[in-house]
């Protein structure tokens, strides 16, 4: 029974590079979320999809962050160009959708930008 799968688990990028993080949600889930987690800011929502449609593309993250969901079982988060302040853990999560539903998280991708 697969949960949310994220790859890679760790990524090291040089400043200015383009990186793509990948996520496979739980099969049958309608909602998909990308969060960024840092010790200072905590969990911040980057993007939110419902049935593959982009519902929210977090304001402050719009310029260099782009999330896509080309099919119901795969999503990517592209950061272009990367900056050292992007160093964080990026979490993908999915749920059946709607209020009062449990959100299932992947293990995250730890990104370090040098």
């Amino acid at each position: 029974d697969a949960g949310v799968t994220q790859t890679p688990r760790h990524e090291v990028a040089e400043k200015g590079q383009t990186i793509i993080l990948k996520c496979e949600p739980v099969s049958g889930h309608n909602d998909l979320f990308w969060y960024r987690q840092t010790k200072i800011q905590g969990l911040e929502l980057l993007s939110y999809f419902r049935s593959k449609s982009l519902m929210e593309d977090g304001g402050a993250f719009k310029d260099r962050f782009k999330a896509e969901m080309l099919n119901s079982s795969f999503s990517t988060l592209k950061i272009q160009p990367t900056e050292p302040k992007d160093s964080a853990v990026y979490l993908c999560a999915s749920s059946l959708g709607g209020a009062n539903t449990e959100v299932f998280f992947g293990k995250g991708t730890r990104l370090t930008v040098v």
Binding site: D31, A99, N100
Partner: protein, 111 residues
Amino acid sequence: SQWGEENLQALSIQEGEDVTMNCSYKTYTTVVQWYRQKSGKGPAQLILIRSNEREKRSGRLRATLDTSSQSSSLSITGTLATDTAVYFCATDRTNTGKLTFGDGTVLTVKP
């Protein structure tokens, strides 16, 4: 206690003790969810408590919700070293399933 947009809290206790973590939220929500995150893992849901519920139990866990004061608590009885983790409360401000997370409480349970 933790707030929607405020500082990370930390608690350190001995195994076997009981502990209560608090969460205050600033806007209306239909549900409060409590999550636990262990090192190197993503958050995992512990308890979901709806706005028409005052209390919810699951094993050693007990969550309460007071919508009038916009606060929730999570209690763990008879803590174990394996309860060491960061605990988050999360609210659904838009009633869509999109969660806003609190800053979390770092709980360390010493064996």
